[in-house]
Amino acid sequence: MLGIHQIYGRRRVQLNIILPLLCRYYYASRTDNMLSTNVKTLRKTRNTPSRPVTVARLYSSNKHNSKVPKVPTWEPLGEDRIPSLPQVSSDLVDKLERLALVDFRTKEGLVCLERAIRQLFLRGDTVTEGDCAEKLLPLSNTTVEEYFVAPPGNIPLPRREERASMLKHSEF
């Protein structure tokens, strides 16, 4: 009989080649029964005649605590709920490699990274707004041509006693 780890091992290899890993990490409960699929796989490889194989028979026959979920509880995420794969340019890869001082020159590493960041909603890194100086300058009290004008800097705020009188003379 094939051990459980062998069954899973075989399945994992298939997934790497054919399907994004991510989809299969999200996993259903009663309805989408991976174990029954596994059972079918088991039957095919062993070439035995069909017979009903229940979940319980794949594991030991000891009693199962009712509080502990009997089957994996993750729900499958349909492709439509996962944002599309962002493009990771080679420039970005270079930058990441230099920051982290690790390399992932192999294609697999790149694919791994893309899947990891797929989870986030990311908008395109394009400038969509701006160039509105003529709208913003009128909002200011004191401008000269296209500059906001400030009093001289690098002068520390006066001491507390002097501050009080400075504020007293102001409008309110």
Binding site: F121, R123, T128, C132, K135, L136, L139, S140, N141, T142, F148, A150, P151, P152, G153, I155, P156, L157, P158, R163, M166, L167, H169, S170, E171, F172
Partner: protein
């Protein structure tokens, strides 16, 4: 003729209709958008003593109403909000329309753009009648501390309150609207607009909603865009919706929700959650009553309403049970620390240089900044900025700011535990009591009042959860009492459905019942 009689009967009460009803009336030609707009503007003038509006956008409103009218005549129909007058709290940016946050700092500020939620309403054809009054920079729970003066509760002038206060013409005992979105609460319940936007950071929409007798929704954090909402506390602010009925709130929520590229804290609501339904079966509902929400100072009448609603739900087959949210008592302090810390950061942008009030003091940059901020901000704002800076000092950071973050996590987890234990919705009071008179309210300072008044509302902001206040009855003083429902994140639709069920059964009266109809 039936048509005319219908028109006569409704004209007087047209302004007291819900969005659904008036939208139908518009589409059936029973009233035109221009007439409706004019009625609202006329009523705003008539209710000027309430001080609900800082800016009335009369010309713009009439222009928008004309456009709505021509669309209707052509049979081109923008949606259910087409031609409906609405008001917006004055901390939402409105293009070329003064946006002041009720502060001297922004007294003459004309934003060059519309806030996303405002733009969405305008795109639906709604008609903006004005910007509503508030506490300065949304700091307060009374709408009494804005630079344009306090807002008065419309129920101060309705028969129930006047009669029990002796029926005198004496104007001095008027009551507050609550805050900080008091102007929005007053605008909707004085029938000058059909919906209003508020902001809700610690209860600023639900509080005036309860005290003014309106439906006030605080959506799940991230559901509505904050782009264009001048921020108070980035991690807690949400745009709030004030309407006269739960169905109206659901309509507006549907229009406003959605991811906005200009606000990276928005998310798309998961489609798996149930939307609003007017036929919710409460036999499927489990209602939690958090025992910690009987806080010191809760009035007997509000307590009685709380019990009444619990009985109502239980009697109809809902499961009602007591739950515990053990960290509730600490949430107001936690809120205060985090609020001040974020305020200190958010108010730093107001230095008089690029926009806003600028002092004539010009001896140095720092002096100019200090003077502008001294002149532009009132004492409440300055106080919170100073407190926030204190909490963020290196020697205090861990003890106050980080600790508050940890307590916030505990408070959010309290809710999570309750909801994952089978509770669908929590039922609590919204405020400690009905509206206080202005003379009584101002006897304590803003910070004290906020600490008292926000106690039931701010935990939902800390946890980012949706909450709605529903008016349930008039108190013995003739003033509205509202109760609050809090739901799990993104269950705004279900929350409103339960609120609708309650609304249908409590029989809260319309203010128009107590007024002489308009001509």
């Amino acid at each position: 003729m039936p048509g005319n009689r219908w028109a006569l009967r409704y004209c007087g009460n047209m302004l007291s209709l819900t969005i659904k009803e008036v939208s139908l009336a518009l589409r059936e030609g029973k009233i035109s958008p221009l007439e409706l707009c004019r009625k609202c503007l006329k009523r705003i003038k008539k209710t000027q003593h309430l001080n609900a509006y800082i800016t009335v956008t009369e010309e713009l409103a009439l222009k928008q109403a004309e456009e709505a009218e021509s669309r209707l005549l052509q049979g081109v129909y923008q949606g259910i909000l087409d031609g409906i007058p609405f008001a917006v709290k004055d901390n939402f940016c409105t293009e070329n329309i003064r946006t002041t946050c009720a502060s001297r700092m922004l007294k003459d500020f004309l934003p060059p753009y519309n806030a996303t939620v405002v733009q969405k309403l305008l795109d639906q054809g709604a008609v903006l009648v004005g910007k509503t009054n508030m506490d300065e920079f949304a700091m307060g729970s009374g709408s009494t501390d804005g630079v344009f003066g306090p807002v008065r509760n419309p129920w101060s002038y309705a028969a129930p309150y006047r009669e029990q206060s002796g029926g005198a013409e004496d104007d001095s005992e008027w009551v507050i609207t609550g805050g900080s979105s008091g102007g929005s609460g007053a605008a909707v319940t004085s029938l000058t607009s059909f919906l209003a936007l508020g902001s809700d950071t610690g209860g600023s929409t639900r509080n005036p909603g309860a005290l003014c007798g309106a439906v006030a929704l605080k959506p799940t954090y991230g559901l509505l865009s904050r782009h264009g909402l001048i921020p108070l506390v980035n991690s807690m602010d949400v745009p709030g919706i004030v309407t006269r009925s739960t169905s109206d709130a659901a309509i507006v929520l549907e229009v406003l929700q959605g991811r906005d590229l200009k606000d990276s804290t928005t998310v798309q609501s998961p489609t798996s959650h149930a939307g609003f339904s007017e036929d919710f079966d409460v036999r499927n509902l489990c209602v939690g009553i958090p025992k910690e929400y009987h806080a010191p100072g809760l009035s007997q009448e509000t307590l009685a309403q709380w019990s009444r609603l619990a009985d109502l739900l239980e009697g109809a087959g809902a499961r009602v049970r007591e739950v515990s949210l053990p960290h509730t008592q600490h949430s107001i302090v936690c809120y205060h620390v985090l609020c001040c810390a974020e305020v200190a950061s958010n108010m730093a942008r107001f230095d008089g240089l690029e926009y806003g009030h600028r002092s004539t003091e010009d001896s140095s940059t720092d002096a100019m900044y200090a003077a502008s901020r001294h002149e532009g901000f009132n004492a409440v704002v300055r106080g919170r900025i100073l407190s926030g800076n204190f909490f963020l000092l290196q020697q205090n950071y861990e003890r106050y700011f980080l600790k508050a973050q940890q307590v916030r996590r505990l408070i959010a987890e309290d809710f999570e535990h309750a909801f994952s234990a089978g509770v669908d919705v929590l039922l609590t009071p919204t405020t400690l009591s009905d509206a206080a008179s202005y003379s009584h309210f101002i006897q304590a300072d803003n910070r004290t009042r906020s600490t008292q008044e926000d106690v039931f509302t701010q935990p939902a902001n800390l946890a980012g959860l949706p909450a709605v206040s529903v008016p349930t009855a008039l108190s013995s003083r003739g003033l509205p009492i509202g109760l609050q429902l809090i739901g799990p994140a993104f269950q705004d639709g279900m929350l409103l459905s339960v609120a609708h069920w309650i609304e249908q059964r409590v029989g809260f009266p319309s203010i128009s019942n107590y007024e002489v109809p308009n001509k």
